[in-house]
């Protein structure tokens, strides 16, 4: 009898458990903006929350110095409905709520072009032209007017549907990092031209710069598995030295329309060079299979003398290289010029996502007020954030003076900037490196926690590199196609990219003659490339036209 009761009980518990798992907790998560009588509003949002975003004990996204400030000073209560640890999961969740017809949060950021387009076409997000006109502060309007192309990812039929979350502009643009100790040992000068660079690489390969008596060093660290123009171990400067295009980017051709970099004739010269360099042993033998993370190993282990990387590489991977190779000195240098004096580099995009707004959202004025106050801080013009965002987080007061050093702040420094809905202290393209250049050249003291943590604390090497990158801004070659994949792109671009990578790799390895490039261009055009170029330009015309 007892046994029977037990069995029945087990069954009931098991079944109930499963069924309970299926019930919908929908009611709890749906929220929307509301306004109470005293002008205070609640705005709902969702966001990615990376693992490295830290909080003080007991605090979270809905309760931290930034939300408390926003609630007290601006009357905005932020309600973060859910978070996801990375962009992929975040976008999937939004995609799911879109296709299941759930209510969208008031404000949310999307960085996937296709998803932005889907959301706009679904009619669930609203155009913002009127709101910008009515509510944006002069400061914001000035920024927006300065970068009209930042709105292109969310522009449809001449209407703007999103507010850009700006990138640093040139924050991840590359320059050369060279082993200064090797240069000195071999009595070489830093390179001004590609020709100089070749001499240096030759010496690095043949003159045993690491002094171990073996010919085991290479000249240049490159990543090519994901394309030769990339964010680390970047090869775009080689292409930029021979023409106005870099692989993988849609940039302006001679007639002002957008053309695809990888099929431009100037690629050929750069590929020829790369093939020559490969044959001479300047490049990693395995360059064709290396992605960004695996490519840097040669530089980190002290087998390579040159890497093209952004200023932030000063922290990683350069410090690793210094640690592994006692006596190593790595210095940043400007990109070298090609035979016709040309210089060019892959330029990072201007935006890292667009803020979209639910069509039911009523408080655009409040959103702009919040955004403006956040920007005020980086412009050193805030009435709320004088020395930093929050005392005890990114600074402490000692004897009436702000102190930014990690060690002085109880329990370590935290960056409350990550709690803004911009997920970091907001920025305007080029502003950070302009500021770095100013600080580096004038050697003045940092005025607030932002200048200290974002610039000064990162060290001299970073500041020098950022200054160099900033001084080479005119050589940026940006990808100007920022819309959703076009119709033919969806169908054929995968094939075209595959063909491109294959052709480039084969030419570099000498497995195909240089003329394979011409065949590739011809096939590229025939297999949808022409159609895609047409569609890309149709898009470009449509977003460039009337705002």
């Amino acid at each position: 009898m007892l046994k029977k009761v037990f069995t029945t009980l087990t069954v009931t518990v098991l079944t109930a458990g499963v069924l309970a798992g299926c019930t919908d907790n929908e009611s709890a998560s749906s929220g929307s903006s509301s306004e109470s009588k005293d002008g205070k509003v609640t705005i709902t949002t969702v966001r990615t929350l990376k693992d490295d975003t830290k909080f003080r004990d007991g605090e979270d996204l809905n309760n931290n110095p930034i939300t408390r400030w926003s609630e007290k000073e601006l009357g905005i209560t932020w309600k973060t409905l859910w978070t996801a640890p990375n962009d992929e999961q975040y976008h999937n969740k939004i995609r799911l709520s879109l296709s299941s017809g759930q209510k969208l949060p008031d404000v949310f950021k999307v960085s996937d072009g296709q998803l932005i387009s889907d959301l706009i076409r679904s009619g669930k997000v609203m155009p913002v032209d009127e709101a910008i006109e009515k509510y944006a502060s002069p400061r914001l309007k000035k920024i927006f007017n300065q970068f009209p192309e930042a709105f292109y990812p969310a522009t449809v039929d001449g209407k703007r549907y999103g507010i850009p979350r700006f990138s640093g502009g040139n924050g991840s643009d590359s320059l050369l990092w060279i082993r200064k100790d090797w240069l000195d040992k071999l009595g070489l000068q830093p390179p001004k031209t590609i020709e100089d660079l070749e001499k240096i690489m030759d010496a690095f390969v043949n003159k045993d710069p690491d002094g171990n008596g073996k010919k085991d060093t290479i000249g240049l660290t490159l990543a090519s598995k994901n394309g030769l123009a990339t964010w680390l171990a970047d090869g775009s400067f080689i292409f930029g030295a021979y023409g106005n295009y870099v692989p993988g980017s849609w940039s302006k051709g001679e007639d002002g329309s957008l053309v695809y970099g990888s099929v431009q004739p100037s690629m050929k010269k750069a590929l020829e060079k790369l093939n020559e360099w490969y044959k001479k042993g300047y490049l990693d033998k395995e360059v064709g299979i290396l992605d960004e993370q695996t490519a840097i190993e040669s530089f980190v282990s002290g087998k390579s003398g040159i890497i093209s990387a952004p200023p932030w590489a000063a922290d990683w991977p350069i410090t690793d290289a210094l640690k592994n190779n006692p006596g190593a000195v790595v210095e940043p240098y400007p990109l070298p010029s090609g035979p016709d004096g040309k210089i060019g580099r892959r330029g990072e995009g201007l935006v890292t996502g667009m803020f979209l707004f639910s069509k039911d959202f009523k408080h655009m004025d409040k959103f702009f007020e919040y955004l403006d106050e956040a920007f005020a801080y980086v412009y050193n013009d805030s009435k709320y954030f004088k020395y930093g965002l929050a005392e005890g987080y990114d600074y402490v007061m000692k004897d009436g003076k702000p102190v930014y050093d990690d060690k002085e702040i109880p329990n370590g420094r935290l960056d409350p900037g990550a709690y803004f809905i911009t997920e970091a202290i907001p920025t305007v393209p080029y502003m950070l490196y302009d500021l770095v250049e100013e600080l580096y050249t004038t050697k003045r003291e940092p005025k607030n926690a932002y200048e200290y943590t974002r610039i000064v604390s990162l060290g001299d090497s970073f500041m020098k590199a950022a200054t160099i990158v900033n001084q080479q801004n005119q050589y940026r070659i940006e990808n100007e196609f920022t819309g959703p994949p076009t119709k033919t792109m969806q169908k054929r671009f995968e094939f075209l990219t595959k063909m491109e990578r294959e052709t480039f790799a084969n030419i570099i390895y000498g497995r195909a003659p240089l003329s394979a490039f011409d065949d590739f261009v011809k096939k590229w055009e025939e297999s949808g490339g022409k159609e895609i170029t047409k569609e890309v330009n149709e898009w470009y015309q449509s977003v460039k036209g009337e705002k």
Binding site: R95, S224, E494
Partner: protein
């Protein structure tokens, strides 16, 4: 007249017996219920999403309102040479994998079975089984290092022993498939070895005793007793792996392939990954996936039938 009554009685008897059975075992059946619910909810309901393959899917319209395009995506699949090539690559790689993943563990199990030092046998078995637990992400990195033409372990050994020039295993179209198959067999053979070893222990020892009496040597024992007795399990393993003929190993390829070996190494899954996830063409990706499932289904059913017909063995 008489037979009909008999039949009726029989049916009735069976009926009551069934009822009686259910009466005594309903708890067990109810306990099965959660599992069935889970399978239904998570395996069968999502299958409805397959209609995407016949639509031009737009997320905000959902698959209830997206426009229908019939078999267009399937046509696309065979129209383009790149798709045909990945199908061919997939077939070659997975066929090789299936063959070697049967033959090598079988041979290995037979050899291991001849060892009488239990400790040694167990140790070898465990060591061989270990790689099965490593993920391809980790192995990918290790293999790239080991197979490197610049001081990679494998190339160093080859140069030292045979004096050959270093081979760029992962960047050479002549070598890539071999590397893929060999590393997969190395990683997975432990698992099948254990299955075969288990089957070996279940062979009735009296068969061997009889054979020894008849004067059979070890080799003859293997040919005439061990292998025939193991045929059913070989068929099971073989049939089950037939279902995977279009899965040439997504994780593995994704971590090992590169533009240099697209020609021989790109498979359906990596292709779908790039088209569907990176290019956002969900419908097309689903169509390719569906095509894959249908082929696998046909092969499993065929394998099942053949196993029944020729080996008189029912798997399910």
């Amino acid at each position: 007249m008489q037979p009909t009554v008999d039949l009726k009685q029989q049916t009735a008897a069976v009926g009551t017996r069934k009822q009686w059975k259910l009466k005594g075992t309903w708890q067990l059946h109810t306990m099965l219920l959660p599992a069935l619910v889970i399978v239904f909810v998570f395996q069968y309901i999502p299958m409805l999403g397959l209609v995407m393959a016949f639509q031009d899917y737009e997320p905000w319209l959902g698959f209830l309102h997206s426009p229908w395009v019939g078999l267009e995506h399937f046509k696309t699949m065979f129209e383009y040479e790149d798709a045909r090539q990945v199908i061919w690559n997939t077939l070659v790689i997975s066929t090789l994998k299936i063959i070697f993943n049967l033959a090598i563990p079988l041979a290995f199990a037979l050899l291991l079975n001849e060892i009488y030092v239990m400790k040694f046998k167990r140790t070898v078995q465990t060591i061989v089984y270990l790689p099965h637990f490593l993920s391809w992400v980790i192995l990918g990195g290790i293999l790239i290092d080991m197979l490197s033409p610049e001081g990679g372990m494998v190339n160093r050994v080859l140069t030292a022993l045979f004096g050959i020039e270093p081979i760029f295993f992962l960047g050479d179209n002549d070598w890539f498939r071999t590397v893929v198959v060999v590393t997969d067999v190395w990683k997975e053979c432990g698992f099948n070895t254990i299955v075969f070893l288990a089957a070996l222990t279940s062979i009735n020892p009296s068969l061997y005793e009889a054979a020894i009496v008849d004067g059979a040597n070890r080799w003859q024992q293997t040919i005439y007793i061990t292998l025939p007795s193991m045929l059913p399990i070989i068929i099971v393993v073989g049939t089950l792996s037939l279902g995977n003929i279009l899965n040439a190993g997504f994780d593995q390829i994704l971590n090992l392939y590169n533009p240099l070996v697209y020609k021989t190494g790109d498979i359906i899954d990596t292709y779908v990954y790039r088209v569907g996830l990176l290019n956002g063409d969900f419908s097309y990706a689903t169509a390719v996936g569906l095509f894959k499932s249908i082929i696998s289904f046909i092969l499993v059913v065929t394998g099942y039938r053949l196993a029944y017909k020729y080996a008189n063995y029912k798997i399910f």
